[in-house]
């Protein structure tokens, strides 16, 4: 704002930048670091790596829900082995995802709960509601197959 001799507003100079490209790049990056993988018919897996803030949690939620709808997913496995800290905020985001997937008729399994994370969560009084959780991805997968009434047979 330009002020004249009397201290009154003389004019305003404003500048705007087109940040469309920046936003698009951000979006592409977000989607790249939150990949969703179809593990089997009706089972999807999403590995979370790195810190999870509210913006990331939003992308995770949208990506998962859209995928669940598109591929008629019955079981969604969210792997948190790569998330260094699971505090009350992160647990809150996980709860939201679990609830939203349930609304779409899909069961959630949280895998990759390390001993440290398990301790932190209990010490903070955090729960995951009626979602199941496991340490290993293999256990989560076995559980998913079971939920879909599928059995593994050795040849």
């Amino acid at each position: 704002m330009y002020l004249d001799n009397n201290g009154e507003v003389d004019g305003v100079f404003a500048a705007a930048r087109d940040i469309t490209d920046l936003r698009q790049a951000e979006k592409a990056l977000s989607e790249a670091i939150t990949p969703v993988m179809k593990v089997w018919d009706g089972i999807l897996m999403m590995p979370l790596v790195g810190t999870v803030d509210s913006r990331r949690a939003q992308v995770v939620m949208e990506t998962m829900l859209t995928n669940i709808m598109k591929n008629r997913i019955k079981v969604a496995i969210l792997d948190v082995m790569g998330v260094p800290i699971v505090d009350s905020a992160v647990a809150g985001y996980l709860m939201k995802v679990i609830k939203a997937t349930r609304l779409m008729g899909c069961k959630s399994i949280i895998s990759g709960i390390s001993p440290a994370v398990a301790q932190t969560m209990v010490n903070l009084g955090l729960e995951l509601g009626d979602a199941t959780s496991t340490t290993s991805l293999a256990d989560a997968l076995e559980l998913a197959f079971d939920l879909l009434n599928l059995e593994m047979i050795t040849k």
Partner: protein, 134 residues
């Protein structure tokens, strides 16, 4: 402009002995109450044991609508039938979670196929096809 609530009546169908209610119109207060009456009437008339409320055409849900659906499900349960909600769109599911609305024990399915699969596994829901065998 004449307001004719009958023209916004939801068309319900009977499939395998279950009442399928596709919500495809905008639901105002009066339409909601009419829907409630219609569903309960059908449950009574056709002695329905299972109801599927399909929300796949619903783009926006507010707390009022969500609460009304929950109430309808409770009323249907009192009349001895099981309800399954299907077709929640991702955006709708996300906003309901943001609104912190809890559907508690109500069952959900991704689509009508899945809903029928779930109803099949419930012994108390009798499907018409079973009667034909006996």
């Amino acid at each position: 402009m004449e307001e004719n609530f009958d023209s916004t009546r939801v068309t319900m169908t009977m499939v395998r002995g279950c009442l399928v209610v596709p919500i495809q119109v905008e639901l105002y207060d009066a339409t909601m109450l009419k829907l409630q009456d219609d569903i309960l009437e059908e449950v009574k008339e056709k002695m329905v044991k299972g109801v599927i409320i399909d929300l796949s055409a619903v783009n926006i849900i507010d707390l009022f609508l969500a609460q009304k659906i929950k109430e309808i499900i409770s009323m249907v349960a009192l009349m001895g039938a099981e309800t399954i909600l299907t077709g929640f769109k991702p955006e709708v599911a996300a906003s309901l979670v943001d609104l912190d609305f809890d559907f508690e024990d109500i069952q959900m399915a991704i689509d009508q196929d899945d809903a029928f699969l779930k109803l099949d596994s419930m012994p108390q829901v009798l499907m018409e096809t079973e009667d034909k065998d006996s």
